[in-house]
Subunit: 318 residues, 2 copies
């Protein structure tokens, strides 16, 4: 056991919600000797420097990766292939190359062919996030008790996997390895389909003739507002997710549509027993999520509630 950092030099390509959370957690825990960051837009680079998220902020991906022993691409999955092509000639021997994308099959396919043999490529996906985007949105605690899934190939160096695992564990994350294809199926149901559904229903609400948008907004506390939170996530990131995980998402959509048809039929026929049975069954999976600590049991997600003044209020009819 030593107090040395796990990696000497961490290069972050992209500093949005996830990239800036990694930077903050890395600074706090000391897992990286130094952090060099870059971002595509000058405005983001400027903000990253202002927030002091890195030891150095550089203009190009090539500069960022020079001398780094860990490179993490924190960018939309559709951009990973081209970024890999750019950085490949500049990578240090033995560096670990990773990402944080929500799809792993396409990243493995797009990135691996560009990389030299002397680096270790380990696709990764921390299953964590919020509805906010950009360098200001991140926080060091984002990964605590969340899973980070690694999808190394069978040939990947065990030592490299061990180092990346230790890096994520230092942030409070739990780490599991699986194949890219299985990852993409699991996430299609636990993340991609929920986002697609949320985006759909929020769009539906916006375009109704009989109910105005301002009514939808006013009376959103009955459930709808939770969908709008999910549908407020970054559009570029999610466009890329659906383009990159098309097959698994379409497969889950097929099953979802069958199930929705079944419930729709039960409503149309007035089959109360079928509805009750279904609604009672889905409570169990919620209990499972609470039991393993993947959500809070506080009512309403623990949303803050104002206080009611504990004084008799005078009756006034105004």
């Amino acid at each position: 056991m030593s107090e040395a950092p796990i990696f000497q030099r961490l290069a972050l390509i992209g500093v949005g919600l996830i990239g800036s959370s990694i930077a903050r957690a890395a600074r706090l825990t000391g897992v990286a000797g130094s952090i060099v960051a870059t971002a595509r837009s000058e405005a983001t680079r400027k903000r990253v420097a202002e927030l002091k998220l890195a030891n150095a902020v550089v203009d190009t991906n090539a500069e960022a990766v020079a001398g780094a022993d860990l490179v993490i691409m924190c960018i939309p999955v559709g951009a990973c292939g081209e970024t890999a092509r750019q950085i490949a000639p500049h990578l240090a021997r033995g560096a670990v190359i990773s990402d944080v994308g929500s799809v792993k099959g396409s990243v493995a396919r797009d990135v691996a062919p560009h990389l030299p043999d002397h680096v270790h490529f380990i696709p990764a996906h921390p299953v964590a996030g919020t509805e906010h985007s950009g360098p200001d949105a991140g926080f060091a605690e984002l990964f605590i008790n969340r899973w980070c899934i690694l999808t190394p190939s069978a040939e990947t160096s065990a030592h490299a996997i061990e180092r990346l695992t230790a890096f994520w564990k230092a942030f409070g994350a739990k780490v599991e390895c699986m194949s890219p294809d299985h990852h993409d199926l699991v996430l299609a149901i636990t993340s991609h389909l929920p986002h697609l559904i949320a985006y759909t229903i929020v769009g539906t609400a916006e375009e109704l003739g009989q109910v105005t948008s301002s009514e939808v907004i006013k009376f959103s506390a009955g459930g709808f507002r939770d969908f709008t939170r999910i549908a407020a996530s970054d559009p570029t990131m999610w466009r890329d997710v659906f383009l990159s995980n098309k097959d698994a998402v379409l497969e889950m959509l097929g099953t979802f549509n069958e199930d929705l048809s079944k419930l729709t039929r039960a409503i149309r026929r007035g089959d109360g027993q079928a509805l009750f049975d279904h609604f009672a069954r889905t409570r169990a999976i919620r209990r499972g999520i609470l039991d393993v600590g993947q959500d809070s049991s506080a009512p309403d997600f623990g949303r803050p509630h104002a206080e009611l003044p504990p004084l008799p209020r005078p009756y006034s009819s105004e």
Copy 2:
């Protein structure tokens, strides 16, 4: 202006999440001189007495309403008609009769025919709740800054509406009147359809062959867990909602299905621009909800996050 309570005697029929929140808020604000409560099950009545939520807990609906100038049925909408029939002979002259159901057209149709002419029937729906049920789940602050929709008929006494409005405003709620049919359309999109979709997708996740339930639970933080919260709501209440608001729900489902087909086609064709445009558009409605204070802008609904110890952690590969 006087410090007298708005109602002398409040009768609560049913003391679940909503009923017990009303009891708590009424005690705290002094809007009712006394509270008498009843519930169908003996276990609930016993718990209500233990929690001291009412001045008296009685065994029958008839006893509960005797001498009450405000009666609120806090029960599933499907039970309101039969309850109205039971209490009708025992209602005090001039009493205000109300409910808290999520559907208003069916309640108006089921209840009104039973009631004597000498009472004032004002269906109501406080658009507030959590995923928890039962007398222990309520809290006095539940209605603060939430809307309570009243659906009186054109003949209802303005004075009675004014008193019930003052009652709900004392709990921090905002009050709006509309027709039962319009209420049912608005809630079909802002509450009923989101619940149906959440119940569907949680059911879908449970029955997949390729992904186990335990994987769904473990990796639920990518969006799915938010749906499980909604799908953990009371099954009896929701069965009744879908049976009672069938037409509006089926209509909204039709529009939703069209929109889902459009996005599905965009995914199948790899039409990134259509996906991006849709995803960017739905952010606006979220901003509207935050602007009018119907949700918190805290990331992740303000879910609590653990703290990361701000100490360099030694590298250990175990």
